[in-house]
């Protein structure tokens, strides 16, 4: 992992969509090795915040730095792995094998006319091995279960050897057992590979023991250094504006 003072540095970020304020004055930093959860009600701006970090939306005002570099000048997008919302929901007829999908994670590194190098092949194999999808290599992505597809999408994100993994509510269409495996994997990546993780979730209880910080987004941003304090029922009820019950569980 390359040294960097902060992976993401956000200062006074504002975003409006069609005149409606979605994010108001968000400021925070994500440091190397952190495991952060982004929580908040639906429509509160969680996904928008991530899309702004990834350059998929343009902020109305404010500053974003990635690995210490202003976003407009940042080019090393392969250092950020991204698993989007509903990534497990794939068109069942799309002609793509598991190997081809995971290989996409290396495309930006290969350049124009670039053929797959030995390093590309090694990173793809390693990502597939880590996610346990090597034996599915030649299967069509559309023929897999939700849990298997989810692992393939994470393998694609890992194939570029990123420093940080951004995961946006990835468990749509995924069974409970696969979800459990998924949380285990995130824990492993964070603890053993020292990979930073930014995780948008509604299920804060399941990762309460792993996370180092919580970003609560509901137009404004509230950062808590003490996740166990923040996920107390009374605090969550206050933030969500509705009675909330937090259940800490393993899966």
């Amino acid at each position: 992992m390359k040294f960097s003072p902060s992976l993401f540095e956000v200062n006074n970020l504002n975003f409006e969509r069609q005149g409606n304020l979605v994010l108001n004055g968000a400021s925070f930093q994500i440091l190397p090795g952190e495991y952060c959860a982004i929580i908040g009600p639906n429509g509160g701006g969680k996904t928008t915040l991530v899309r702004l970090l990834l350059g998929l939306e343009k902020p109305t005002s404010g500053e974003i730095k990635l690995f210490g570099i202003p976003q407009k000048r940042f080019r090393d997008w392969n250092r950020i792995g991204y698993v989007p919302q509903r990534s497990a929901l794939v068109d069942s007829t799309f002609p793509a094998t598991v190997r081809e999908v995971v290989g996409m994670g290396r495309y930006a590194l290969r350049g124009v006319f670039g053929f797959e190098s030995a390093e590309d092949k090694s990173s793809i194999s390693e990502a597939m091995e880590l996610m346990g999808v090597s034996d599915l290599s030649d299967r069509l992505i559309g023929n897999l279960s939700g849990g298997q597809r989810q692992r393939v999408m994470i393998a694609r994100a890992l194939a570029s050897d990123p420093d940080v993994l951004i995961v946006d509510e990835p468990n749509t269409g995924v069974d409970a057992q696969s979800q459990h495996r998924f949380y285990e994997l995130l824990r492993t990546l964070n603890k053993t590979k020292k990979m930073s993780i930014l995780f948008i979730t509604h299920d804060i209880g399941v990762i309460a023991e792993d996370i180092s910080r919580v970003l609560f987004v509901n137009q404004t941003l509230l950062v808590s250094q003490n996740p166990s304090e923040m996920i107390r029922c009374d605090e969550m009820s206050r933030l969500y504006g509705t009675p909330a019950h937090v259940v800490c569980h393993n899966h």
Partner: protein
């Protein structure tokens, strides 16, 4: 078969047809996977405006078709990607609008209906040596770009957002793809015709996808289907005096039905 290849007009028709088969099926794979198939149909109608303008003012119909198709492709992509308009709505507007404009221009002139017929449905007699040169130059550029950015276009077709987040220059490549398609369609009108080129772009990948393979073998199969259809279609056109575009599309349809029957799911 061998006999018809002795004629220069058939040699030109085969060279042009095979070139278009490869280009149309290769670029068509990307628009089919992006649920953007109507783009080819729309740009074909727009290129008809270029043909009509060319015939009316005594300019090269082929060049005018290329120009009209290119400008329309940029406008469509701009409205879709920058203004966020629904792609099917934008395509519907351009499709009907350009057909209306072409009909008005044709009715103003009134005297070139015979020439126009060959542009609508294709004609093996109409490919000139100059057309082949134009097709060769533009076709080579289009082919080089498609091969150079093949993997990026595939990634965008699979997941545009993740491709963009991964550092792929999605906006630039989207404009490049629609420009390539615009040029291919305009170049194809001599052999296949404006009303039928959409089929050569869409049917080969759709038939190939039925076989449930990965993207690279699917693309190769799609190209093979297009090539076979062009060879059989042009031969049938020569033997039975049929419009070449119609003969090619009927071959494509037969192959598509066979693919459906073999791969019933």
């Amino acid at each position: 078969m061998i006999e018809m290849l002795q004629y220069p007009f058939m040699q030109r028709a085969f060279v042009a047809g095979l070139m278009i088969a490869v280009l149309a099926s290769l670029s068509g794979s990307f628009i089919v996977l992006r649920r953007y198939s109507l783009l080819s149909e729309t740009l074909a109608h727009v290129s008809l405006v270029g043909v009509a303008v060319g015939l009316l003012f005594g300019m090269s119909p082929l060049w005018m078709a290329v120009l009209a198709s290119l400008v329309a492709s940029w406008m469509i992509e701009y409205l879709r990607s920058v203004h966020g308009m629904y792609s099917d709505s934008v395509l519907a507007i351009f499709l009907s609008g350009s057909l209306a404009l072409a009909i008005v221009i044709v009715s103003m002139a009134g005297s070139f209906n015979a020439s126009l017929f060959s542009y609508l449905f294709g004609s093996i007699l109409s490919v000139s040596a100059e057309d082949l040169w134009v097709m060769g130059i533009f076709g080579s550029i289009a082919m080089a770009l498609l091969i150079a950015f093949f993997k990026e276009l595939y990634f965008i077709a699979f997941d545009e957002d993740v491709a963009r987040a991964g550092g792929i220059r999605v906006t630039m490549l989207n404009f490049m793809l629609v420009s390539i398609i615009a040029v291919i369609i305009a170049l194809s009108i001599r052999v296949v015709g404006t009303l039928l080129i959409g089929a050569l772009m869409v049917i080969p990948p759709v038939a190939a996808i039925r076989f449930g393979m990965g993207f690279y073998p699917t693309t190769l199969l799609s190209i093979a289907i297009a090539l076979i259809s062009v060879v059989i279609g042009l031969s049938a056109s020569y033997i039975f005096s049929l419009p070449s575009g119609a003969a090619i599309v009927l071959c494509l349809l037969v192959i598509f039905i066979i693919a459906l029957v073999i791969n019933r799911r």
